[in-house]
Amino acid sequence: MSESTQVVSFKLGPEEYGVDIAQVQEINRMVAVTKVPRAPVFMEGVINLRGQLIPIIDLRTRFGMPRAEHTKNTRIVVTEIGTKRVGMVVDSVSEVLRLPLDAIEPAPDMITGVDTEYIRGVGKIDDRLIILLDLAKIVTGSEKRELETTDIETAA
């Protein structure tokens, strides 16, 4: 049996995504999110997670998809990237999957919706495609860019 990795899979629209289970701290139902004014657009706000303030990213907005109504299936996936904790709003969480490493392929150039910059690879299991995300890039990478544009806006 070849080596494998465990991922938490979730859905945004029709597509299925996965993040490394080691980076997932917990999965919560949608709670009241306090908006943070003048924050980047994909920044949904902050929530109180047992006394800790956790910033929440709307993953759809982050990937430039249209916002979705929150339903009873909407979840906040609380992830831990380095020392930072970030919650991500997803349409629904599917399951924990074991993906053999040899079932993971590098991200193809043309992939639906998401900028390949945030993708570590694509996992194939049965006939499902799981897009594996690089969380660190989602949180830090181009959010800087967004912040910069916010600054420019403020200055104007």
Partner: protein
């Protein structure tokens, strides 16, 4: 001990070593300063010398254990010097004390390198050579002097102990010291080896009552009478032992992050406690309504509400205790200054006396850590720009000695820190000229004295004609002020030409808990730090005016610009056409009216930073979790005031009221 790594967690020990050594170096510094008072007096306070000896001994031991050879070596050599001083084999000279001060700095640099890595500091070898050369003179002369000393005979008659037993004891002590050195006792548990040493001392003391008297006198002030090795060698051990018993057991080091975690958990507890109280009272009400519920149920509901009240009290006490644990005396920062003042005064050829008051004033650890740098800068400023040279002072009819006063005291919910000097004061004319030359102000600008003083906070501003290594290096007063503001402090300067300058900083007691005015803006509850709030008012919309396109109100003759919080934060709330609710906030004499939807009372809040994932948000300084678990963002008054005054909507002249 072959490989130290096998027996203990090295990282933890290095950290311990760093903390412990930092404290010891600090105490060495202050002891050296005290010692300096004895230069050329031929008398010494043996307690100071002993304390120095002990501190170096501890550093040497810990460094040895961690195999920080360079640190160990210097500590050892310095320890030797104090040993010579202690045994009165070396007079205390100015040259000597300077060499010791220098040694302390070399040691500090070596410790830093040992702990954090990096380039070895330069000049260490040179220093060691000078130190050795210095020590050698006295080491050899001591032996010459030793012989003909008359006291030795007295000692014979004083302590008729037979030579054999003394020699045996001496060997025993030496064996134990060697053993202790070889073991290089862990700083956490030095008591084991010291116990042995103590036992040896006790054994020696039991030899004869007269010897006991003699040994005691050797421990106390007059080492001259007692050149015999054993008692002197045992003395530090004995005193160390005492110190271990008295001081070390009463404090422990705790990582501040653990306290923060604890504080978070308590916050959680507070929130749940509120919910339990709610449930208890709802239950009571429901049962009351139904009437028919059994007695047992009613009693249970009563029990629940009683026990939740108890829970509430305990929780509050825990919260308060944790806040107190975070408080440390400002003396931790003040302690650094005597040395700085001494060195800089010497370097500048000035005579300066430093007076410290209120060193035991408690402040939150975070503030104490952050406030050191700005304070240091101000003290340097006093020395460099404030206090005049002795000759100038005499010519002006002042004492040769300049005085710098550091003062700290509590005032309400704040701590006031003052640094004042009796120097030349700020030369307003020169500040003005410099500002004109730099293009900060125009030649025709008419500024009040106060506004001129404010000019020194302009970035890059320095009136020093020449750049010295003390101040005027480009790290300006603007940085000092910015740092103080960042700590939510208020910074003020008062200066009388020819008489001196006083810097006053008002700091919050703690950064973690503040009083806040809660306001509602478009469905969101915001917190405004109460220390910045001057008043809140309901004003008729017809009283609003516009200046340069910005809304203002006139308040007691002063024009105050308004910021509509809902619009600043783009919350899209409709304006009330008739009334406006205004919170007047003020900083440094500048006032701004914040327009909100309603006032929701005052409350104590625990400040939590917004995640750096979100980044810096203009107008928001953090957030807090309210009793019901919801989040309230904290309005950053500094940035709002700055934006009202910086955006050109208001010119300074119009709002320059103080």
């Amino acid at each position: 001990m072959s490989s130290s790594g096998e027996f203990f967690d090295r990282t933890e020990f290095v950290q311990y070593f760093r903390d412990e050594t930092e404290e010891l170096l600090q105490s060495i510094d202050s002891d050296l300063l005290r010692l300096e008072g004895y230069v050329d007096t031929k008398a010494l306070d043996p307690e100071i010398v002993n304390s120095l000896f002990r501190a170096l001994h501890t550093i040497k031991g810990s460094a040895g254990m961690l195999e920080f050879v360079a640190v160990q070596q210097i500590a050892h050599k310095l320890e030797n010097i104090f040993d010579l001083l202690r045994k009165d084999r070396m007079p205390l000279t100015e040259g000597g004390i300077n060499l010791l001060f220098e040694g302390r700095d070399v040691l500090t640099a070596l410790v830093r390198v040992a702990v954090a890595g990096g380039e070895a500091p330069g000049g260490v070898d040179d220093y060691v050579q000078r130190l050795d050369a210095f020590a050698e003179i006295y080491d050899s002369t001591a032996q010459v002097i030793e012989g003909p000393r008359g006291e030795a005979d007295d000692e014979e008659t004083l302590a008729p102990v037979d030579d054999e037993r003394v020699a045996a004891f001496q060997a025993e002590v030496e064996r134990m010291l060697a053993e202790a050195n070889a073991k290089q006792p862990a700083p956490a548990a030095p008591a084991v080896d010291l116990d042995d040493a103590q036992a040896a001392v006790d054994a020696f003391l039991s030899l004869s009552p007269i010897a006991a008297v003699a040994a005691e006198s050797a421990v106390a002030p007059a080492p001259r009478e007692w050149p015999a090795q054993p008692a002197v060698a045992a003395a530090p051990a004995q005193q160390d032992h005492k110190r271990v018993g008295v001081a070390k057991n009463q404090t422990i080091r705790v990582d501040i992050e653990r306290l923060d975690l604890l504080l978070n958990l308590v916050g959680e507890l507070v929130i749940n406690r509120t919910r339990i109280s709610d449930i208890a009272s709802t239950l009571g009400r429901e049962l009351g309504n139904k009437g028919g519920a059994g007695r047992g149920m009613a009693a249970l509901a009563k029990d629940l509400s009683e026990s939740s009240a108890l829970l509430a009290r305990t929780t509050n006490e825990i919260q308060e205790s944790i806040m107190k644990v975070r408080m440390v005396p400002i003396g931790q920062v003040f302690d650094r200054f005597p040395r700085t003042v001494r060195d800089l005064a010497k370097a500048r050829g000035k005579e300066i006396r430093l007076e410290i008051f209120g060193a035991d004033t408690d402040l939150d650890k975070t503030i104490v850590d952050e406030v050191g740098e700005p304070l240091m800068h101000l003290v340097r400023n006093c020395i460099d720009h404030g206090i005049e040279a002795p000759a100038v002072r005499e010519a002006r009819g002042k004492p040769r000695h300049g005085t710098i006063k550091l003062n700290a005291y509590h005032e309400g919910n704040q701590v006031i820190l003052e640094i004042s000097d009796d120097g030349a004061g700020i030369d307003l004319q020169r500040v003005r000229e410099k500002a004109i030359r730099n293009g900060v102000i125009d030649e025709n600008d008419r500024l009040s004295d106060r506004e001129i003083i404010e000019l020194i906070f302009t970035p890059g501003f320095s009136t020093a004609d020449q750049v010295t290594d003390v101040s005027g290096r480009g790290v300006g007063m603007d940085v000092v002020k910015k740092n103080i503001l960042r700590l939510k402090g208020v910074f003020d300067v008062d200066s009388v030409q020819g008489e001196g300058t006083t810097f006053t900083m008002k700091m919050p007691l703690t950064l973690a808990i503040i009083q806040a005015l809660m306001v509602r803006v478009a469905d969101e509850l915001y917190s405004i730090p109460l220390d910045a709030v001057i008043e809140s008012q309901r004003i008729d919309a017809s009283d609003l005016r516009t200046v340069h396109g910005g809304e203002v109100i006139t308040l007691r003759g002063q024009v105050v610009p308004l910021i509509r919080v809902g619009e600043f934060f783009r919350l899209g709330a409709p304006r009330d056409p008739d009334k406006v609710m205004i919170v007047i906030v003020g900083l440094q004499g500048r006032q701004v009216g914040l327009v909100v939807d309603s006032f929701q009372g005052e409350q104590e809040i625990v400040i939590k930073p917004l995640s750096d994932v979100i980044g810096r948000i203009a107008g928001i300084s953090g957030a807090t979790i309210l009793g019901n678990g919801s989040i309230s963002l904290i309005i950053d008054v500094h940035s709002l005031v700055a934006s009202a005054y910086g955006s050109g909507r208001a010119t300074r002249a119009e709002f320059s009221g103080v």
